[in-house]
């Protein structure tokens, strides 16, 4: 573990989450499991973007002490964090809409198996 910087570790975790979530999405046939796989892929992508925008050793971008306000070169880049914050909230909205569709589809056919929904017309 000689060159295992924190950034490398977090990136590897994010990639593992994306691959695991995508695997669950492809293999499972239960609709709710597929939505859970989507949620895992979402979380992995957020971790990936936030890690690519961070740099170890610098502190958080909140300038509320005098020495941080005097030398703002000590803080992390704030732009990727703003993007990830937006993405998390929108991810919740999309997940909620997907789950509403799943509930409606279950009420129609009383099954959660995705291979039953092959036809385009309800």
């Amino acid at each position: 573990m000689n060159n295992l910087t924190p950034s490398t570790l977090y990136l590897a975790t994010a990639i593992a989450l994306i691959v695991v979530g995508f695997a669950g999405l492809l293999v499972r046939r239960n609709l709710l499991k597929m939505v859970l796989g989507f949620a895992l892929v979402d979380t992995g992508i957020h971790l990936l973007i936030a890690t690519l925008g961070s740099s170890p050793g610098k502190s958080a971008p909140i300038l509320n002490t005098a020495e941080l306000a005097a030398d703002p070169g000590l803080v992390v880049d704030p732009v990727p964090q703003a993007l990830v914050l937006t993405a998390i909230v929108i991810g919740l909205g999309v997940t909620a809409l997907m789950l509403a569709y799943v509930v409606r589809l279950f009420a129609l056919k009383k099954t959660l198996d995705v291979s039953e929904f092959g036809r385009l017309k309800w």
């Binding site: 695997a23 709710l32 979380t43 992390v76 964090q81 919740l92």
Partner: protein
């Protein structure tokens, strides 16, 4: 401090795998909530407290709640 980070990352990936492999839907939803909580700790470690707070409140809180509501509404009626 890197050993704590290593442990948390390991728990994250293992919980993700357990969520996808589990047969019980409720435990899968709770595992996804655990993944969100661990990822929120990792956000804090890389210097992003705003993002950590948002992920904990929305990912580990509201998202798990919505999954449990959906599971309740799609279980087959018995009897």
């Amino acid at each position: 401090m890197i050993y704590l980070d290593l442990l948390i990352c390991l728990v994250t990936v293992l919980a993700g795998v357990a969520a996808m492999r589990s047969q019980n839907l409720v435990s899968a939803a709770v595992m996804v909530g655990v993944v969100s909580l661990m990822v929120s700790y990792l956000f804090l470690r890389m210097g992003a407290p705003d993002v950590a707070m948002t992920e904990a409140a929305i990912g580990a809180g509201l998202s798990t709640l919505i999954f449990l509501i959906a599971i309740r509404r799609t279980e087959e009626e018995e009897g």
